[in-house]
């Protein structure tokens, strides 16, 4: 475990060299932003709308007292969306989609000697491959989380209206009554940390792949499981530190 941690830290440090050619680095970063961000938007949208809808229905089911106003449902759904559901659920899904993709791409480059080719050319392969992915993740994943926050609340409003639990205006009134910028900032801090975990762990797993196609698959699996465990661990740490 300590060997892996040490190797991971050395790998991360090795990425931070001056890029050989800034123009090429920029175009790679934009390409990765498209892969990570735009490519993940449909799945993030679908999951967010349904999680928002289910949370609304389940919260309404649990709040049976006539003394509690219905707008509290909006309050609970919006707060829990920002604090936990949007960053954590979305990033667990992204660990599966983006993480596996990065690990298999880099792992395949390793076993086909493409990474060696970069090194022979005098290019810092870890920085050239990894840094654009990390920067793209740090830009795009928080953006996806902001979208997920909105869609979760949107999904809640739709579910509330379709099932007749409450009117959209009651929901919005509840959501707005307790909105604090701090709640959103917790969501963003989580999304930055999770974005770094997903992209760096997956690149690391792919970069140190040894063997053939089977090992590339194993690297993908390891990238997803380790990213998920680390996301949950840091979710707890951030919650404890910030709340």
């Amino acid at each position: 475990m300590f060997y892996e941690l040490g190797r991971y830290l050395i790998f991360i440090r090795s990425m931070f060299f001056k890029p050989e050619r800034f123009q090429v680095f920029l175009s790679r970063t934009i390409h990765e932003m498209n892969n990570i961000g735009v490519g993940s938007l449909p799945i993030v949208a679908i999951i967010s709308i349904f999680v928002g809808a289910v949370t609304t229905v389940q919260t309404a089911y649990q709040l049976v007292s006539p003394l509690i106003p219905l707008s509290v449902i909006g309050e609970i759904v919006s707060d829990s969306s920002m604090l936990e559901l949007a960053p954590t659920i979305t990033c667990l899904v992204l660990a599966g989609k983006v993480g596996a993709n990065i690990a298999s791409e880099v792992g395949n480059m390793r076993i086909t000697e493409q990474i060696d080719a970069y090194e022979v050319m005098g290019i810092n392969s870890s920085g050239f491959l990894g840094l654009p992915k990390i920067i793209a993740g740090l830009i795009m994943i928080p953006s996806l989380i902001i979208i997920a926050n909105s869609l979760l609340i949107g999904g809640g409003i739709i579910a509330a209206k379709l099932t007749g639990i409450m009117s959209p205006s009651e929901f919005v009134q509840g959501a707005r009554s307790t909105f604090k910028f701090f709640t959103l900032s917790v969501s963003l801090v989580k999304s930055f940390v999770f974005a770094f975990i997903i992209t760096s762990v997956s690149t690391y797993e792919g970069y140190f792949t040894n063997g053939g196609a089977l090992e590339v698959g194993e690297s993908g699996t390891r990238a997803v499981t380790r990213s998920c465990v680390l996301i949950l661990f840091f979710d707890f740490i951030i919650a404890k530190l910030m709340l």
Partner: protein
Amino acid sequence: MIELNHVNKSFNEKQVLFDISASFVPGKPNLIIGASGCGKSVLLKCMVGLMTPETGHIVYDGRDFVSLEYEKKKDIRRELGMLFQGTALFDSLTVQENIEFPLKMFSKMTPAERIDRVNFCLERVHLKDVNDKYPAEISGGMKKRVGIARAIVLDIKYLFCDEPNSGLDPITSRVIDELLEDITSEYQITTIINSHDMKTVYDIGEKIIFIFKGKKWWEGNRHEIDAVRKENKELDSFIKASQF
């Protein structure tokens, strides 16, 4: 000129290279031969900096590659080109983009100049109308030639080839051998080829180093090899096993 001085390399407890010292003939094809697993690929990887020997020196024109700092090693690496066994073409890039890649990274050429250079290199390796194809869409022999074109697109001094004929039919193998020989003499580069193809050895081996169980067992040239094989049991077995 490349010189190896007392190079040793091991993995964990297993030593794979034992005190290898040699020099290579500048401007000629030099061959490192030996059976699979004898350590010739490890030696080549040490020479290009993909692995670091435990002890010993690898000297490029008086510069000790092993002891240089990372940034200084880059200067030597810019003088190297390498053709990998599996070609190592970037599979997300087209043939043109693959060859253009080193130019984009290290030259100040304009896009038009880069395309001209790419087309010149493709013509040099006898390839036409493949600019927009992806590596997965071309044959093994064509991939090797694209690999050579990418290796020579910058003005290199040293060309390393790891088993350039592996996976190729005998006719295509000869085409690749001739191409490597022509490019070596035309650009006066020092070419170092890892091979266990004896036809290559007899055709282009101006300097041959035979590695046996991680040790330099014999060195000479293609004109001497037949004369010494009778006295060198291991070399003789290797040549016989290659059924030449």
